[in-house]
């Protein structure tokens, strides 16, 4: 349940790359999905988010260079440092800083950025919106694309499309997102063709969806990072389902192949995919940090990178909490969806 801020995140990807849901999962409730179970999961999620926030807060304060130093840089003289530290409240004990920060948080105050002296939300909200646009566009393209490609390659197993897709997907899996991004920039924006913008220069306060050209390469990068896993998952479960007895039975009944696939096979194959899609979203939260950096896209990833370089602790904290909460939320959604879609789990094993 960690956030992957760096390219890769290999371990987690391959973990859910194995078609989850085919194995019995002991974390699932044995007696049906009730409000109490969901509430307990939410409570657990809050504890996880809080734990991460504590960890990040104290880790940031344990760093050798302090925010005052980072802001002043070469201009730093002892007096100037002392002045700025007391201005920012950095001269107080870490515990008391943490308690007052937590107190403010519980009252709904997310704190003031060290860099801008404005409430963190002033920068956070537009950045969050931009990032969510990126996520939404990626999900809207990747998930249908993965299902389509997965179904087709399962139906034409070992065909040209199947082998070609497998080769390309293995290639893309081996390459981190930022490399994909850089290659796309070289091909579509700078060296080979100049058809798309290399840097996402969104006008101030603009809605990203009204500038689709600026979104194109960041979204394409994320799609290329995500579809290989998702489509292979669909393909795997689809093959299992197509070989199952009830599909054989449906075929024996003389149903058309279209009906067999659309009515019997695909809906069953989509159960693990639904769960995986939710987890993919939580993975993308990490991915956007890297991709936003490569394309200068003004979302929370860029906000986080800027905040880290100026040791802007309040901003780093809040962005981290948002990312952690997102991961928890998407995982919870994945679990709930799985339970709802699996009759055996839904009814507590009495189906």
């Amino acid at each position: 349940m960690s956030i992957s801020l760096r390219p890769g995140g290999r371990a987690r990807r391959s973990a859910f790359g194995r078609a989850r849901g085919r194995e019995p999962d002991r974390s699932r409730p044995r007696s049906g999905v009730g409000a109490r179970w969901i509430l307990r999961r939410i409570a657990l999620g809050v504890v996880v988010v809080w734990g991460c926030s504590v960890l990040i807060f104290f880790a940031l304060h344990a760093l050798p260079s302090d925010p005052a130093q980072a802001i002043l840089g070469k201009q730093a003289t002892p007096q100037a440092l002392a002045h700025l530290r007391s201005f920012l409240g950095l001269d107080r004990p870490v515990i008391s800083q943490y308690l007052s920060w937590l107190g403010n948080l519980l009252q709904g105050h997310l704190g003031r950025s060290y860099a801008t002296q404005q409430p963190v939300t002033v920068e956070l909200m537009p950045a969050l919106e931009d990032s969510l646009c990126l996520l939404a566009a990626t999900a809207a393209i990747s998930i249908p694309l993965a299902i389509l490609l997965g179904a087709l390659t399962a139906l034409r197993r070992d065909g040209v499309l199947d082998r070609g897709s497998l080769f390309v997907s293995l290639l893309l899996t081996a390459v981190p997102e930022f490399v994909i991004g850089i290659v796309l920039v070289i091909v579509f924006a700078t060296v080979v063709w100049r058809v798309l913008p290399a840097v996402a220069l969104l006008p101030a306060h603009a809605d990203p969806f009204s500038h689709p050209r600026q979104l194109a390469l960041p979204v394409l990068t994320l799609v290329l990072a995500v579809v290989p896993y998702l489509y292979r998952l669909v393909r795997g479960t689809m093959i299992d389902v197509l070989e199952s007895e009830y599909v054989t039975m449906a075929r024996l009944k003389g149903l058309s192949e279209w009906t067999v696939v659309m009515r019997h096979a695909l809906p069953n194959a989509l159960i693990p995919v639904t769960q995986a899609s939710a987890i993919i979203m939580s993975y993308l939260l990490g991915g956007i940090v890297v991709v936003e950096y490569v394309f200068g896209y003004p979302g929370i990833g860029t906000l986080l990178t800027q905040a880290i370089s100026s040791r802007d602790i309040p901003t780093i904290e809040v962005v981290s909490i948002v990312l952690t909460a997102g991961v928890v939320l998407f995982n919870l959604t994945a679990d709930v969806l799985t339970v709802l879609l699996t009759p055996k789990l839904r009814t507590g094993g009495q189906a």
Partner: protein
């Protein structure tokens, strides 16, 4: 340059790094404004830009600039990063400003007259200049601007104007302000060359200046748009009828790769701070390099008060070890020229100072080290990627030193650590500076009580000449003092100044109007009114 915010506050005539960037000496008589444009063509040899053609009106110029982030500001007094200063130069005018020959000229001021020892200055402003909101520029605006420096949380100018006695400011008439100083400061106009004048009651959210462009929109860390000021007075250049373009967009692109890519993709017309390694590929892809020699310097610093550098023979040996041309070629990819252990190459005092170019002399270096009892010298050099070429130069130095039997252990730290608690205390380290006039540089780098005395330079004869120069308001009469100071630095100093680094911008072929300047800062010293689109 994003690590600058506060300024040391003290009674010393301190300058900040940033200050130096905007500084020079008001040497010699003022050239007539009209002749400035004509004089521009002379130093064009280093420039590969097609500046030719008749300027055309209209269009929107988009420039991708380095240095920005979430702490971006529109208050020129609180400017920190490169792009802060670019925005300020579009909106405001300086009280004084360097012309294309790096002579500091009165800009919004018409003159600044000192008393005998330079401790009281009478500054007169030009008449008939209007702010964007129609207010006429007056002495009260200059007084407000000076006070504004000390009212805002983090002005980089507090040290630069620490000598001003704010309580004694006196408005003589509508256009004249009497500025008493706490001590003699013969180069006060150089400080005024860093002062962008704001109107009384300045509001950062609706910035109003006198400059060539007017405010339209701004979002910190992203971009800002300015529109042409049809009533701009044309500056001391006499550039009436400018700017040529209808609007100027400055886009925050602090990441080197993003900046270069945005130019290649045709998203912007020009970028500043081109990484030297990218220059040839930009050129190969049809972009135009604006490559201007400057006095930017990135020295090695030896502390003269700790072993082994407290022995002058060791310092002299280290200077003889350096193969300067090799360092320029390798660390700067040739975008620079060799230097002679002295700073401010455009200063008249530097130009008239007679010192032979120091060359690599390993034999002499070994002999000096032997005399000093340091035949197998081992030292630790602290380096950091604080500017392009610095780490590379350090690596080259290690190789060159080995030829003289000196072992240098390289200790590379990140720039927060470098400018951290040990900054100005490292025995052997690196640094970077933008060019300024000689005496201004001494005030900040190695003069008595200077804020950034990284070599811990201290010399009674030097100090004596330094104070004499700060009392001498006649620039020509300051030169002998400055030569005395230079001689000491050249013979015994703790700096190894191996090269001067070019300014390297790049732009698309249809962006015109850039001309090389002696000061050599990005985009013709931020004179965006010159730009036009072919």
């Amino acid at each position: 340059m994003r690590h600058e915010r506060l300024e040391p506050v003290s009674d010393n005539p301190l300058l900040s790094r940033r200050d130096l960037l905007r500084t020079g000496i008001a040497a010699g008589g003022a050239l007539a404004a009209g002749s400035m444009l004509a004089a521009c063509g002379s130093g064009a040899s280093a420039v590969t830009a097609p500046t030719g053609g008749t300027p055309k009106r209209g269009g929107v110029v988009r420039l991708g600039m380095s240095g920005g982030g979430s702490s971006d500001t529109l208050d020129p007094i609180q400017a920190v990063s490169n792009i802060d200063y670019y925005r300020a130069a579009a909106l405001f005018d300086y009280a004084y400003y360097p012309d294309t020959d790096f002579v500091i000229q009165p800009q919004l001021a018409s003159e600044a007259v000192p008393n005998a020892d330079g401790s009281v200055w009478t500054v007169r402003l030009r008449s008939g200049i209007e702010f964007h909101n129609g207010k006429t520029l007056g002495a009260e605006d200059l007084a407000f601007t000076l006070r504004h420096i000390f009212r805002v949380p983090y002005s980089g100018l507090t040290g630069r104007f620490a000598m001003v006695d704010l309580n004694g400011l006196k408005q003589v008439d509508k256009l004249t302000l009497r500025v008493p100083l706490k001590y003699p400061f013969s180069i006060f106009p150089n400080a005024l060359a860093e002062l962008l004048v704001v109107p009384v009651g300045f509001d950062e959210t609706k910035p109003v200046g006198t400059g060539p462009f007017m405010f339209q929109s701004f979002q910190a860390g992203r971009q800002s748009t300015f529109v042409r000021n049809p009533n701009w007075w044309g500056g001391f250049w006499g550039a009436t009828g400018t700017p040529y373009v209808d609007a100027l967009q400055l886009i925050d692109l602090d990441d080197d790769t993003a900046r270069v890519n945005s130019l290649l993709a045709g998203q912007v017309h020009g970028i500043d701070a081109v990484p030297f390694g990218e220059a040839s590929s930009l050129k190969a892809q049809g972009q135009v390099l604006f490559n201007v020699p400057t006095g930017n310097w990135r020295p090695f610093t030896m502390r003269i008060d700790v072993p082994p550098f407290n022995d002058v023979r060791v310092r002299q040996a280290m200077r003889l070890i350096v193969n300067r041309q090799q360092m320029v070629d390798q660390a700067l990819a040739g975008y620079g020229r060799i230097a002679n252990d002295l700073y401010s190459p455009e200063d008249p005092a530097y130009i008239s100072f007679d010192a032979p170019q120091r060359e690599q002399d390993l034999e002499q270096a070994r002999s000096l080290l032997r005399q000093a009892g340091q035949s197998d010298l081992r030292v630790r050099l602290v380096t950091s990627p604080i500017q392009a070429g610095v780490v590379e130069a350090s690596t080259v130095l290690v190789t060159q030193a080995a030829q003289a039997g000196v072992t240098i252990a390289l200790d590379q730290v990140d720039d927060d650590t470098f400018f951290g608690n040990n900054y100005l205390k490292w025995p052997f380290a690196v640094d970077w500076w933008t060019p300024t006039k000689y005496l201004d540089q001494a005030v900040v780098a190695d003069g008595p009580n200077s804020a950034y005395n990284e070599t811990h330079w201290s010399n009674p004869v030097f100090s004596q000449n330094y104070y004499a120069a700060l009392k001498q308001t006649d620039a020509a009469k300051r030169v002998p003092y400055e030569h005395e100071m230079m001689k000491l630095q050249y013979d015994e100093g703790g700096y190894i100044i191996w090269g001067f680094v070019n300014t390297l911008d790049a732009h698309s072929p249809n962006l015109r109007g850039l001309i090389p300047t002696k000061w050599g800062q990005d985009f013709s010293d931020s004179e965006f009114w010159r730009l036009w689109l072919a």
